[in-house]
C-alpha cells in the first residue's frame, strides 16, 4: 500500500504543479496576438490577418510584437496579425484554407497552389484593384503578372525577385588562375571540362566540383550549352527538356565528369550542409548556387577566394545561360471575402516604395541605422540583420535592384558580391514554356518527375548505359503518362501562341 501512497502523491504533485503553471501561464497567454490593442484609441484600424512562412527570429522577437512590425503597422495605419509557420508550411496552408477560417491574405509558394486555390474559388481577383495602382504594376515585369493569372485574371501579387536569375558557377580563384583561365572569359564545354580536370588533379582528394543531388540547381549549369535546359516545341509537340537528344548528351557529359572523379562522387547523397562544408574546405574547385553565397560564408568560406564564372557556350558558339526556375519567389494572394483588399495592396505598394525599400533592406531607424546628413549609416553589427525576417512579414519585396537597393545591399554584402551578382543577372534565363504552362492536376498522380530523376541519377553515376537505355527511357516515360503530359502542354501551347 506504500506504493499506492507514492503514486497518489506523485499524481497530486503533478496536478498541483500543472494548476500552478496554468495559473501563471494564464497571465502570459492573455498578452499576445493583436499586439497593437495597446493604443485602443483607434477602433477603425483595420485588423488584417496574414498567413506566412516566416522563421523564428534569433533575437527572440514575438512575430506579432516587435519593432519591425510596429513600424510597418504605424506607417500604414493597420494592425497586422501574422500567423506564421515555417515548418511544413504547405501542410498548414492547406489545412487553414480547407477549414473555412481564411486569413485576409497569405503567402503561396508554388504557382500550382495559387492556380488551385484560384480555380476553386478561394481567392479574390485583383485586376480591378490593381488598375488603381498603375505605377505599382509597372514596377513588375509583365511575365510576373502573367504567372499569377488564372483564366485571364490576376489572383496574386508576384513577389518578384530583384535578382531574377540569381545563379552562377563559383570557383576558387587561385585554382582558376593556376589552370591558366581568365575568369572573365566565356568557356566552351571542352574548356570547362579541361579546367575541372585540372582542378581534380591538383592533389590527393581534390575534386573539380561538388553539388547536391536533391537540388538540380546546383549542377544544371551545363544544360543550356547542350540545349537541354528548356521545354521545346518540336515536330508539333511540346517536349520537356529531359526527353530531348541534347539532354542525353548532357547526361553523358555529367557521367564523364563523374566517372573520372571530377564531379564529387558522393554528390547524390550530399545534404546542403555537406555540400557547403566541402565547398569551404578548399578541396573542391567549383559549385553552382546563388550569388549571395551565404551558406558558403557561413561554412567558413571567404568571398575573396572565389570568382563567379560565366556559363559555357553552346556548340554553335552562342552564349549559354544559367537556368533558373522562376523570377517570382512566391505569390501574395488575397482571399475572396477579405474586407481589406485595398489596404493590403497599399501595403504591398508601400514595401516597393523608397521608404519600404529602406525598411526592408536596412531596417528601422534608431535600431539598425542612423541618418547622418541624409545618408544611412548602419549601427555596429546591424547591416543586413533580420532582413530576411522583414521581407516575409509584409508580402512582396522590391522587384528591381534599383540604386537604393544596390547601395544597401552593398553595405551588407560588399562590392565584390555586387559584381558577382551582376554575373548572375546577366547570364541567366528561364524556361518560358514550363513557366507559363498552366497547372494540370491530373498529371501529379503520375509522379513522372520521380521517374526522370531516377534515370538521371543512375545515368550520371554510371549504373546504366545511357546510349543503350535512352530510347527505352523515353518510351517508358511516354507510356507512364508522358504522352498525356505532351498532349496537355501542346494543346495549351497552340492556343497560347496561336500556332
Amino acid at each position: 500500500m506504500a506504493t499506492k501512497w507514492r503514486m497518489s502523491s506523485v499524481l497530486a504533485v503533478i496536478v498541483s504543479f500543472a494548476v500552478l503553471m496554468l495559473g501563471c501561464g494564464g497571465g502570459n497567454k492573455g498578452a499576445d496576438g493583436g499586439s497593437n490593442g495597446s493604443n485602443g484609441t483607434a477602433p477603425e484600424v483595420p485588423r488584417i490577418t496574414f498567413l506566412s512562412n516566416i522563421n523564428v527570429d534569433t533575437e527572440g522577437y514575438d512575430v506579432n510584437d516587435n519593432p519591425y512590425i510596429r513600424y510597418v503597422e504605424e506607417r500604414n495605419g493597420i494592425d497586422l496579425e501574422l500567423i506564421n509557420e515555417s515548418t511544413n508550411y504547405e501542410q498548414k496552408m492547406y489545412t487553414v484554407m480547407a477549414s473555412g477560417d481564411l486569413p485576409d491574405f497569405l503567402v503561396v509558394n508554388n504557382k500550382n497552389d495559387l492556380m488551385m486555390f484560384a480555380s476553386q474559388g478561394l481567392l479574390m481577383p485583383l485586376d480591378e484593384l490593381l488598375a488603381e495602382h498603375p505605377d505599382f504594376v509597372a514596377k513588375f515585369e509583365p511575365i510576373s503578372w502573367e504567372l499569377a493569372k488564372w483564366e485571364g485574371q490576376i489572383y496574386g501579387i508576384p513577389a518578384q525577385r530583384y535578382d531574377p536569375t540569381p545563379l552562377a558557377a563559383f570557383a576558387l580563384r587561385s585554382w582558376v588562375e593556376d589552370a591558366g583561365i581568365d575568369p572573365e572569359q566565356t568557356l566552351t564545354i571542352d574548356e570547362y571540362y579541361a579546367m575541372l580536370e585540372k582542378f581534380a588533379s591538383r592533389g590527393e582528394g581534390t575534386y573539380g566540383m561538388t553539388a547536391m543531388g536533391e537540388v538540380d540547381l546546383t549542377y544544371n549549369l551545363f544544360m543550356d550549352a547542350f540545349d537541354a535546359a528548356k521545354y521545346q516545341y518540336i515536330d508539333g509537340e511540346v517536349r520537356p527538356n529531359y526527353i530531348l537528344d541534347g539532354y542525353k548528351e548532357w547526361l553523358k557529359f555529367m557521367n564523364k565528369l563523374y566517372a573520372n572523379k571530377i564531379l564529387d562522387n558522393e554528390y547524390i547523397v550530399n545534404t546542403g550542409t555537406q555540400m557547403w562544408e566541402k565547398a569551404a574546405s578548399g578541396n573542391y574547385g567549383m559549385w553552382q548556387w546563388f550569388w549571395s553565397q551565404i551558406e558558403f560564408e557561413t561554412a567558413g568560406g571567404k568571398r575573396e577566394d572565389i570568382v563567379a564564372l560565366k556559363p559555357p557556350k553552346k556548340a554553335d558558339g552562342t552564349p549559354g545561360k544559367y537556368l533558373y526556375t522562376s523570377p517570382v519567389r512566391h505569390y501574395v494572394a488575397i482571399t475572396k471575402n477579405s474586407k481589406y483588399a485595398k489596404e493590403i495592396i497599399k501595403l504591398q505598394e508601400w514595401i516597393t516604395s523608397e521608404e519600404g525599400i529602406i525598411y526592408e533592406f536596412a531596417g528601422v531607424e534608431g535600431l539598425d541605422y542612423e541618418l547622418k546628413d541624409g545618408e544611412i549609416v548602419f549601427k555596429e553589427g546591424r547591416a543586413g540583420k533580420n532582413a530576411g525576417w522583414r521581407n516575409k512579414t509584409v508580402g512582396v519585396m522590391s522587384p528591381v535592384a534599383n540604386e537604393t537597393v544596390q547601395r544597401l545591399l552593398a553595405h551588407s554584402f560588399g562590392e565584390l558580391a555586387m559584381q558577382q551578382m551582376g554575373v548572375a543577372l546577366e547570364n541567366g534565363t528561364f524556361d518560358e514554356i514550363k513557366l507559363l504552362a498552366p497547372f494540370f492536376p491530373e498529371l501529379a498522380g503520375y509522379d513522372l518527375d520521380a521517374m526522370v530523376k531516377e534515370f538521371r541519377d543512375k545515368a550520371i553515376i554510371g549504373q546504366i548505359d545511357i546510349d543503350k537505355e535512352w530510347d527505352n527511357f523515353v518510351r517508358e516515360w511516354r507510356k507512364a503518362g508522358g504522352d498525356r503530359f505532351i498532349e496537355l502542354h501542346t494543346e495549351w501551347y497552340k492556343e497560347h501562341y496561336g500556332k
Binding site: M1, T3, K4, L11, I14, V15, F17, A18, M21, L22, G25, N28, K29, A31, D32, G33, N55, V56, T58, E59, G60, D62, N64, S86, T87, Q91, Y94, T95, A98, S99, D101, Y162, G272, T273, Q274, W276, E277, K278, S281, F290, S292, I294, E297, T298, G300, R329, F361, G381, A383, G384, K385, N386, A387, G388, R390, N391, M397, L409, S412, F413
Partner: protein, 286 residues
C-alpha cells in the same frame, strides 16, 4: 549470489556493452558537434573530441525568452497531458480487460480499428476546430489524448493478472471501481509507469499538433520552436548578409536535440525504479 562471472554472464555483458556503445555513439556525436566551433563543424569525419569549443549554438538555442516560453508550454502540456492521458487510457484498458464486460470484443475491435483507419489531417483539424479548442492550450492535450496502441498494451497487462485476485476482492465486497483503483493499479505499476513514460515522451517530442492547431506564438511548444530555429538556419536568404547569428544548420540541430533530450535523460533514472518493482503475487495470494 555468485561472485564469479560465469561464461554465460560474460557473454551477456559483452554483447550488451557492444550494443550500448553503438547506441551512445550517435548521441555522443550530437553532443560533440553541438559544442564544436561552428565554422569548424566538418561533417566529413566523426570527431572524437569537439573541434574547438564553443557554446555559440547553445547561446542561440537557449538564449531567448522564446525558448523558455516554449519550454514552459511543453512542460505544462506534458504534465497535464500525462494525467489526462493516463486516466483515460487506464480506465478504458481496465474495463476492456474484464471478461464481465458485455460487448468486450466489439469494444476492443472499436479501438483496434482506429489504429488501422485514420481520417487524415484535414478532417481531424476540422473536428478539433469544431470542438472549439483550436489555438488553445487544450489543443495540445485532447486531440492526442488516447493512444489506441497504449490502451491495447495496458489491456494485455491487466489481462495477465490472475482472476483470483479480483474474485477475492469482490468477495470482500469491493465494487469494480474500488478493485480498479485500490488493487489493480498498484499491482500494475511497471505497466502503468511504462505507458506513463511513453505518454510523457510523446508529449515532449510532439511536433505536428503544435504546427497545425496553434497559431499563437505564446502557445507553441518546444519542438516547434526548435524546428523553426533549424529551418531558419537552412534558409537561403536573399536580402540578408552573413547574419552573425546564422550558424551552420548542423550546429543548431544538434544543440536543439540535446536541449530537448536532456530533460528526459534527467528524469528517466528517477522513474526507472517503478519498472523494476515486481508484483508480489505470491504474497497477495496468501
Amino acid at each position: 549470489m555468485q561472485r564469479r562471472l560465469t561464461l554465460g554472464q560474460a557473454v551477456n555483458y559483452a554483447i550488451l556493452l557492444i550494443f550500448v556503445f553503438l547506441c551512445i555513439l550517435p548521441f555522443y556525436y550530437v553532443v560533440v558537434v553541438s559544442l564544436s566551433e561552428p565554422t569548424l563543424v566538418k561533417e566529413g569525419r566523426i570527431t572524437i573530441l569537439p573541434q574547438g569549443f564553443s557554446l555559440r549554438a547553445y547561446e542561440i538555442v537557449l538564449a531567448q525568452d522564446r525558448f523558455f516560453n516554449a519550454f514552459q508550454i511543453s512542460t505544462l502540456r506534458t504534465a497535464v497531458g500525462l494525467v489526462v492521458s493516463l486516466f483515460l487510457q487506464c480506465t478504458m484498458a481496465y474495463a476492456l480487460s474484464r471478461k464481465a464486460l458485455r460487448g468486450r470484443k466489439f469494444f476492443i475491435l472499436f479501438v483496434v480499428f482506429t489504429i488501422l483507419f485514420s481520417a487524415g489531417i484535414i478532417p481531424t483539424y476540422l473536428v478539433v476546430r469544431y470542438t472549439g479548442i483550436i489555438n488553445t492550450f487544450w489543443a495540445l492535450i485532447i486531440p492526442d489524448a488516447i493512444s489506441a496502441w497504449n490502451v491495447l498494451i495496458l489491456l494485455s497487462f491487466f489481462s495477465s493478472i490472475p482472476d483470483a485476485i479480483e474474485e477475492s476482492a469482490k468477495m470482500d465486497g469491493a465494487n469494480d471501481f474500488q478493485v480498479f483503483w485500490k488493487l489493480m493499479i498498484p499491482l500494475s505499476i511497471p505497466a502503468v509507469s511504462t505507458i506513463g513514460l511513453f505518454i510523457a515522451v510523446h508529449h515532449w517530442n510532439s511536433l505536428m499538433d503544435g504546427i497545425m492547431y496553434i497559431n499563437k506564438t505564446s502557445l507553441k511548444p518546444l519542438q516547434v520552436y526548435l524546428m523553426d530555429l533549424v529551418m531558419r538556419s537552412e534558409m537561403t536568404d536573399m536580402n540578408a548578409n552573413i547574419d552573425d547569428q546564422a550558424l551552420p544548420s548542423l550546429s543548431i540541430q544538434t544543440a536543439a536535440i540535446f536541449a530537448a533530450t536532456l530533460p528526459v535523460l534527467l528524469v528517466y533514472p528517477f522513474i526507472q525504479r517503478y519498472f523494476t518493482k515486481g508484483i508480489m503475487l505470491g504474497a497477495i495470494k496468501g
